[in-house]
């Protein structure tokens, strides 16, 4: 278990250069090294942080099979992670042995690959066209990082409340949401884009009702006129925002995830303990099998 039952996590709100793996890897290494100086044990980057987001046909050029020699390109990240004894979550275009492409995020911890999350819900409406290029992932995994249970949800994954439901019931203490969310919609009297407002409400709800830490890491910058809305932030299990980065500028912020506080919240309000998974299962089976609810 961690010292003081806590873990120091750094959120890196970056502006990836579209299509430039090499440059983005260099930038990641620099940020990881800086975060280590601040005592970080884990650094989290946005969705597709190594490639940029609106990739279109260049998905084909950027795919990496992380289990083969193709992953050599990621060597600087493996090395930094090993040398600095630190964990890194970053986004990349993953290619599998059958040449399917995924919008994926790896977790490399102390020089070893310990998790890959393949984005499940691929938005393909409005300005989004992910399903045109990517294959959906098939689950929401939870993995152990020095005794802390972590689940990664990528952007739209989190908009489906079933994803965080699955993650916490599988044991997640921390839900990490990495995203590349475009800034959109304005409202009179509101000092943020409508899109970020929806995000903050959602993340607060997940944190409070699923009694978890929720870490949101979004990117900034522009791709063909579409700007990303930053605002990376941390919600504690009380649903409170603890820290937040600027909506439009690059930056990093560190936070201590305190498992004693999580313990305290889960004891006082045992929503996860009381969750009736069998009832949910029964209802979902009924929906899936009959298409109706009794």
């Amino acid at each position: 278990m961690k010292k003081n039952n806590s873990m120091k996590i750094c959120l890196a709100q970056t502006n990836p250069k579209v299509g430039d793996l090499k440059k983005n890897i260099e930038n990641h290494v620099e940020i990881i090294s800086g975060a280590k100086v601040q005592g970080a044990e884990l650094v989290v980057f946005p969705e597709l942080s190594l490639t940029g987001y609106f990739l279109k046909d260049s998905v084909y050029d950027l795919g990496i099979n992380i289990h083969t020699g193709e992953s050599a390109v990621l060597k600087p990240i493996y090395k930094t992670s090993e040398d600095l004894n630190i964990s890194v979550i970053a986004g990349f275009v993953e290619k599998d042995a059958d040449f399917n492409f995924y919008n994926s995020s790896f977790c490399i911890s102390k020089g070893k690959l310990i998790n890959v999350h393949r984005k499940v819900y691929l938005p393909t409406y409005g300005m989004f066209e992910e399903l045109r290029y990517f294959k959906p992932g098939d689950g929401f995994g939870v993995f152990d990082m020095d005794g802390v249970k972590v689940s990664v949800l990528t952007c739209e994954d989190a908009w489906h409340l079933s994803s965080s439901y699955i993650a916490v019931n599988k044991g997640a203490h921390i839900i990490i949401v990495n995203s590349a969310s475009p800034a959109r919609g304005i409202t009179a009297g509101l000092n943020k884009f409508n899109s970020i407002n929806m995000w903050e409400e959602l993340l607060s709800v997940i944190a409070f009702y699923y009694k978890s830490y929720v870490l949101y890491v979004n990117r900034v910058g522009f791709e063909d006129g579409i700007g990303f809305s930053g605002g990376s932030c941390i919600f504690n299990p009380l649903g409170e925002m603890e820290k937040k980065l600027d909506y439009l500028e690059e930056g990093i912020v560190s936070t201590d995830i305190n498992l004693d506080l999580l313990n305290n919240e889960r004891f006082k309000t045992p929503l996860i303990r009381d969750e009736n998974l069998n009832l949910t299962l029964k209802e979902i089976e009924s929906i899936v099998n009959k298409g109706t609810i009794k």
Binding site: N15, V18, G19, F54, L55, K56, D57, S58, A183, G185, I186, T187, A188, G189, L190, N191, K192, F193, V220, G221, F222, E223, D224, G225, G227, Y247, L248
Partner: protein, 282 residues
């Protein structure tokens, strides 16, 4: 549910200002240049674009071209010069009267007066575009667009004329919101209060020509476009049916102006059809 065009106010202005400044800064640097050139008419749209660019890139990286024709109002020139002076940016005044008149002298003024007037207006807009793109090369600068969302949707602009640019910071902002933005940018009052005009001929008025006010049109377009409501829904919310139909018709009819030219598909991979990359690809 929100049914009214959102106002740019003191709460959201700082964010929008920063967002649009970042857009200009980042997209200009991706083109590996530092500066922009834009046509300054003396009207509110180009003034707003100019203020945004000057904030984003610094006054030394913005050049304004003032390109009057003989019928352009003297007040427009004065207002453009006020913007130049206030921001401290460099500018050139290039009169386009000679080349326009020479061309139409050869063409002859045959045909109906209305047709000639429109052709002249289009020719002027394209002449200005041609000069802007020449200066784009000369000054190693990108051409900054100054068309707002209202005129882009209504097709109230000249294809390959004033609609042409490399970057447009205000193309997703309705005219009504441009006024609000201008107030917060502290643009000289006179530019904000005068009636909107393309100033292609003496006394021209956008709203007279269009037959409706921007405020009403923007309210309707916000529902049709931003909210994706069907015209009958806009009518059910209290808008005049005839006007809704007219505006929807204008939007549909001008779609060609907002797209790249059609390319006949012959090969297996065709530009903009299934050869798909960002402009930022490079």
């Amino acid at each position: 549910m929100k049914k009214e065009l959102p106002k740019i106010d003191e709460y959201n202005f700082p964010l929008i200002y920063k967002h649009l400044s970042n857009f200009i800064k980042i997209e200009v640097s991706k083109a590996r240049v530092n500066s922009v050139v834009l046509g300054l008419s003396g009207g509110i749209d180009s003034a707003v674009a100019c203020y945004l660019a000057s904030n984003a890139l610094g006054k030394e990286n913005v050049t304004a071209l003032i390109m009057p024709y003989e019928s352009s109002s003297a007040a427009s020139m004065d207002d453009a010069l006020i913007v130049v002076k206030t921001l401290g940016i460099s500018h050139y005044v290039i009169d386009i009267t000679k080349q326009i008149n020479e061309y139409f002298a050869k063409e002859g003024n045959s045909g109906d007066a209305e047709g000639i007037r429109i052709r002249k207006g289009n020719k002027m807009a394209r002449e200005r575009m041609s000069i802007l793109y020449d200066y784009s090369y000369k000054l190693n600068s990108l051409v900054l667009g100054t068309s707002n969302k209202s005129e882009l949707l209504l097709g109230y602009g000249t294809l390959y004329g004033d609609m042409a640019s490399a970057l447009n910071p205000i193309g997703d902002i309705y005219k009504t919101q441009i006024y609000q933005l201008a107030e917060h940018l502290d643009i000289p009052k006179n530019i904000i209060t005068k009636p909107p005009s393309a100033d292609l001929w003496a006394g021209q008025s956008d709203e007279k020509e269009l037959g409706f006010s921007y405020e009403t049109a923007d309210g309707i377009m916000y529902l049709l476009i931003d909210k994706m409501y069907k015209p009958e829904v806009a009518v059910s919310l209290g808008y005049d049916e005839e006007l809704v139909d007219k505006i929807y018709g204008k939007i549909k009819k001008s779609q060609y102006k907002r797209r790249m030219p059609l390319i006949a598909k012959v090969s297996e991979r065709t530009i903009n059809i299934d050869f798909r990359y960002l402009r930022d690809w490079a």
